[in-house]
């Protein structure tokens, strides 16, 4: 994969060049001041501002992983993100309706995939047709729920590949092409989201991360032949998500509903051909969040019922069974600029007896009724809050696996940031969530210039 290196070097060089619009930092001389005034003047003349960053990122596999595309690096890219919001002033009804057009685009030179790509993260129009109604249509990031890196009622698409190879947390969220309508009243608020075209999670498929291939029955990389078959684009495959929420004093209460598909291909169509599909899912849940009396800090509880529509009674071992999911979380400051977060999460398989009965003899493993997961987040801010050292831990006592995410980020100046970290995995079995990633341990570094 040596051929990728010049591309990466180029990207890194591009990332290191400050944007042309950046005004000079030091301007003791009138010429520089005039130049800065000129830039400011130019910015005033165009009806919108452009912001963003350029970044070079490298994720290194110290133990090498021969199963994946690049044996030594699972992250090697230069990225420029540009974003702007345009608020048209004519005709007059557009500003009256609070109209705004938002664009956020990433230009990525990717040394692992050895290609250049453009990612539209946001491309949407927003307006307020009635004083109690907001509408946002187009490509957008959607998030709700109370979990910290654990999602129950947030069934919008994620990018777990980005998350596990050390990209910024921003990239855990994958954009949706959606219509979001939000209504507000004194009694309660409501969100309704319509997603015409199904967008799944970015699946782990052996390109950057080796994983457990259930059809090969072992950890696989590029040799995996799984096919992730999306549902067809018809009226029947539209997704709907809703939320009703309100505050009671300092407490936030919410109820959620969802009709659509699992975001991971948790159904097997044809084992011989490696065909996987995205099972249909309806879900309903609720959450509460607020201060914990006496102890201080913020407590959260959330639960969700996942009704797997293609396996309602749990009798089909080739499709994800119905589940109940529960989460309890707590976060508080322990001392100056230090925050501790704890979460306890449980997935409960419904009708496990039916699952056991249907499981074929000689199946490599059988799923537990309860999967438990604990998370810890430790965050210490340093150097007048210009640096952040953090550790996030996933640990599952039932799966006997873990994932550690140490990270150190430092704002060298208001514009330059360097972040280093690691993604470490381990587990007793190759088929658990984090155990399957045990060969994907990586150290990463990112250098970013924001403008």
């Amino acid at each position: 994969m040596r051929g990728a290196l010049p591309l990466v070097a180029l990207c890194a060089a591009a990332a290191a060049v400050p944007a042309a619009a950046d005004p000079p930092e030091q301007a003791p001389r009138p010429a520089l001041e005039r130049a800065r005034d000129g830039v400011e003047e130019a910015r005033r003349l165009i009806p919108f501002e452009i912001h963003g960053f350029s970044e070079g990122a490298l994720g290194w596999l110290p133990d090498r992983n021969r199963l994946i595309r690049n044996h030594s690096f699972n992250l090697m890219e230069g990225r420029v993100q540009l974003q702007t919001t345009y608020r048209p002033e004519h005709p007059a009804f557009l500003p009256d309706y609070g109209t705004a057009l938002a664009v956020k685009t990433d230009f990525v030179g990717d040394g692992v995939e050895e290609r250049f790509r453009v990612e539209f993260r946001e491309l949407n129009a927003r307006f307020t047709p009635l004083h109690w109604l907001d509408v946002k249509a187009g490509r957008q990031i959607l998030t709700w729920g109370t979990g910290d890196l654990i999602f129950l009622n947030d069934l919008f698409p994620k990018d777990w590949v980005s998350f596990f190879v050390g990209r910024d947390d921003e990239y855990l969220k994958r954009p949706s092409d959606a219509l979001r309508v939000s209504a507000f009243s004194g009694a309660a608020n409501a969100d309704f989201v319509l997603i015409p075209f199904f967008t799944p999670d970015n699946p782990i498929r052996g390109e950057r991360l080796s994983f457990y291939d259930p059809l090969l029955g072992r950890i696989a990389g590029e040799d995996s032949v799984l096919h992730f078959n999306r549902p067809p684009r018809t009226m029947d495959t539209m997704e709907y998500a809703g939320r009703i929420y309100r505050s009671v004093g300092s407490y936030e209460l919410a109820a959620y509903g969802f009709k659509g598909f699992y975001k991971q291909a948790l159904g097997v169509d044809d084992p011989a051909a490696g065909d996987l599909f995205y099972p249909r899912l309806t879900a309903a849940g609720a959450s509460a969040r607020g201060p914990v009396p006496a102890a201080g800090g913020i407590g959260t509880v959330e639960f969700s019922w996942y009704n797997s529509e293609d396996n309602r009674r749990g009798r089909d071992p080739s499709v994800e069974p119905p589940q109940l999911r529960y989460l309890a979380g707590y976060e508080r400051d322990l001392w100056t600029d230090f925050t501790l977060g704890l979460q306890y999460y449980v997935e409960q398989m419904l009708d496990r007896a039916a699952y056991r009965e249907a499981l074929p003899d000689g199946a490599p493993y059988s799923r537990d009724e309860f999967r438990q997961l604990l998370t810890f987040r430790l965050t210490q801010r340093l150097f007048s809050q210009n640096a952040t050292a953090s550790l996030f831990v996933f640990f599952s006592p039932t799966d006997a696996d873990f994932h550690l995410r140490p990270r150190f980020g430092w704002n060298l100046t208001d514009r330059w940031n360097v972040t280093v970290g690691a993604d470490l995995f381990g587990g007793r079995h190759p088929y658990t969530m984090f155990g399957q990633l045990k060969d994907d341990n990586a150290l990463y570094a990112r250098l970013r210039y924001s403008f």
Binding site: H51, F53, G98, D169, F184, P291, N411, R448
Partner: protein, 264 residues
């Protein structure tokens, strides 16, 4: 970040131009209560652009720029703050919401636009740095007068000098602080903080006060860290009071959708 902004806002707002009588000095409590209203509660609501320049002990500077919106729920009592960040670039578009409560923990939220995430923030220690500056959260949003015992030390020129000692010394970093409060406007003009060894380690001062909308308003203030040699200067512009901020600005709706009309 929020704290500085709130402090700044507070400092801005000063409403009462008191009668300038020499006859009878008010008590320390009366002075402090009035100063609290002048500094933190001017008008029913308020808005300001805040530019902070943070200079560390080695002379390196960083900039913070934000708009702060404030609404009083009750004069001298609960308040709501909305802080919208413009600089530095990596926090641009973030919004911070505080429901300040007297007598119990504040409610706080932070909105991260890149993730469309409304995060609830543990209330925590109010005497930590606001956005990495030398101002503390409590400088921005005010410190309840009932939290300290106040003593009128002397009248010095145009100012009352008040010494304040915390009722609950655990949880604050100072042993006491002295405040110079303008006798005419009741604006706190200077505060000096002392540690348990009696050493002065921190000074917060109003550099420029202007009358805006009938309220004496600090338009430039400075916090000095005498130990590190660092300091932060806050400059307030576009200050306005009684702008008619609706209560729903201070909700999740406007965290996700910046209230541009009110941020200009």
């Amino acid at each position: 970040m929020m704290r500085t902004a709130a402090a700044a806002l507070c400092i801005l707002a000063a409403s009462a131009a008191g009668a300038r009588g020499e006859e009878k000095a008010p008590t320390a409590e009366e002075i402090v209560n009035r100063a609290n209203l002048v500094a933190y509660y001017a008008g029913a609501d308020g808005r300001a652009q805040v530019e902070m320049t943070i200079t560390d002990g080695r002379g390196r500077t960083r900039e913070r720029r934000m708009t702060i919106l404030r609404r009083n729920v009750a004069e001298g009592g609960d308040q709501k703050f909305y802080v919208h960040f413009q600089r530095p670039a990596d926090v641009r578009g973030m919004a911070y919401l505080v429901w300040k409560h007297v007598g119990r923990d504040d409610d706080r939220w932070l909105y991260q636009p890149a993730l469309d995430l409304v995060k609830r923030i543990a209330a925590g220690d109010k005497r930590t740095s606001f956005v990495g500056s030398d101002f503390l959260y409590e400088d921005v949003s005010g410190r309840g007068p009932e939290e300290d015992v106040h003593e009128l030390l002397r009248t010095e020129g145009e100012a009352y000098v008040i010494r304040s000692t915390p009722r609950e010394p655990r949880g604050v970093e100072f042993a006491r602080y002295d405040v110079w409060i303008d006798r005419a406007t009741f604006m706190p003009m200077r505060a000096e903080y002392f540690d348990r060894a009696g050493k002065k380690y921190r000074v917060v001062e109003a550099l420029e006060v202007r009358e805006i909308g009938g309220h004496p308003t600090v338009v430039r203030s400075k916090a000095n860290n005498l130990e590190s040699g660092g300091h932060t200067v806050s400059v307030f512009s576009d200050v306005a009071y009684g702008v008619g901020l609706p209560d729903d600005i201070f909700t999740e709706r406007y965290l996700r959708r910046a209230p541009t009309k009110w941020l200009k």
